[in-house]
């Protein structure tokens, strides 16, 4: 890194960063080549063919089909290479690995709130372990924000009324900028923070520094009971509502013939807009919990539902 006293290039602190930078340097090389070519040609032609007498009249040259085809197909081929390369990278960033550590993020004007599954809650900071994939499930309480960590080369808008997700695997311990990068009002440029990447053992130590209130899933279970969900959503399908065991990732048949794969957004929507997607074979009798549960509460219930795994009729899993 240059010792100019200020950086010219960002840290590479995630497994993706190097790959993104590779594509970036390829594009940079292409750009230097073509921009350089054009600039050199312009300068050479300008000098070589400068007007030497006022009544000079060059021969007209109408065109050349071969050249046109050449300089259409070559850029086309190069941009298609760039497209495929970029699309493949994008695909990787879009789908988190199954074993990713999940952290919930709620954005609001003008701060970030992060919730670890064990219950730790952070404001404008996020502690994560290096060497492990981390998936963020994010929503906004008001306007559109954006979660941007330049050192990881990741970015995703954070929307009101929906979850968006992003994932990364930090490769280098350290402290990195977190920026909000979707203009969100007065303190948009103040909505910044730090991602603190720790070695896994140090991270475990930080975690066991105790979080008040218990894990997300246990908080979610408390809400599941206090809001009355448990009275209809029995573990087998005997209740008035479908069982939620093993729901995430399952294909659900809906009324009207459609079916969808249950994801975080589906669970959130079912809590807040229960009649949007009614499961086939059930009555649309679920009341809405909009206004009765906060976004954090929804995330806790979600964590609880995710913890209801596999075995039919299994009780609560801690």
């Amino acid at each position: 890194m240059p010792t100019l006293g200020f950086p010219l290039f960002p840290d590479q602190a995630s497994t993706m960063a190097g790959r993104v930078d590779q594509l970036y340097f390829f594009l940079l090389g292409l750009s230097v080549f073509f921009a350089g070519l054009i600039c050199i040609l312009i300068i050479v032609f300008a000098v070589k063919y400068r007007r030497r007498s006022d009544d000079e009249q060059p021969q007209p040259i109408p065109g050349n089909l071969g050249l046109e085809i050449f300089w259409t197909l070559v850029p086309l081929g190069l941009t298609l290479v760039v497209f495929v390369w970029g699309a493949r990278l994008f695909f990787v960033t879009y789908y988190p690995p199954n074993d990713a550590l999940e952290i919930n993020v709620v954005a609001k004007q003008w701060m970030w709130k992060a919730q670890h599954p064990e219950g730790h809650s952070e404001i404008n900071e996020l502690h994560i372990p290096s060497g492990k994939p981390v998936k963020l499930v994010m929503t906004s309480q008001d306007v559109i924000h954006d979660f941007f960590v330049p050192a990881f080369r990741v970015k995703k808008d954070v929307l009101p009324g929906r979850y968006t997700t992003l994932w990364f695997e930090a490769s280098k311990p350290g402290s990195y900028h977190l920026f909000c990068s979707q203009y969100c009002g007065t303190q948009h440029s103040g909505m910044v923070g730090r991602i603190v990447v720790m070695e896994p053992t140090a991270f475990q130590a930080w975690l066991s520094g105790g979080a008040a209130g218990g894990s997300m899933a246990s908080a979610g279970e408390k809400l599941f009971r206090s809001l009355g969900c448990v009275s209809c959503h029995l573990p087998n399908d005997a209740g008035r509502a479908p069982s939620l065991v093993g729901l995430l990732g399952k294909t659900v048949a809906l009324q009207g013939g459609r079916s969808i794969v249950a994801d975080e957004n589906y669970v959130r929507e079912s809590i807040l807009e229960p009649n949007a997607k009614v499961v086939a074979g059930y009555q649309p009798i679920m009341p809405t919990f909009k206004g009765l549960v906060s976004e954090e509460g929804v995330m806790q219930i979600l964590a609880y539902v995710k913890s209801l795994k596999r075995e039919e009729g299994a009780q609560v899993k801690k």
Binding site: E273, P274, N275, A276, P287
Partner: protein
Amino acid sequence: MSDSNLAHAHQFDDAAQQHEASWLGMWIFLGTEIMFFGGMFLGYTVYRGDYPAAFADASNRLDITLGTINTAVLILSSFTMALAVRSAQLGARRPLIACLGLTMALGAVFLGIKFTEYYQKFVEHLVPGGGFGLSGPLAGAEQIFFSFYFAMTGMHALHMIIGLGLLTALIVKARRGRFSVAYNTPVEVIGLYWHFVDIVWIFLFPLLYLVGRHLQ
């Protein structure tokens, strides 16, 4: 003006070029209007796809009798407008003025019925905003439906009001004898505009009034 068939604005070479330019200009303008209304149709389509039950419920709260009457009124007004264009092409001044007047009358009836409907909706607390009176799980999306209802029919009504203004201008010119067999382009192109406004309504009516309705 005995040589009115030769008269044309100074930038044109001849009357035929002027006519072609006017005609092309109006069609291009109608193209922009399609894009203008198109944005609202797109938004409507997205939300109807997201909230079919709410849209059906909200649509059933509209007065289908008044809506149907209005549709008939507007189609009839397009007929009288076409008759007006035909009269102009034949140089028939009195029928032209009569047909333009009829078209205006029908347009006014349409607007009267429309504003009656708006008033009804106000009384029923179905105007979006603080006073929106529905509640329940579908209420949010129903408010979105009514937002589109007012925005789309309101924009349509605005275009009709502009149309009435244009027709007034045509009647004034017709009374002064400005149109003839040789020169009737303004009637023709404003006829195109009127027909377009009618067609927009023909799309609005089923999308707003007929969602989830079945013949008994």
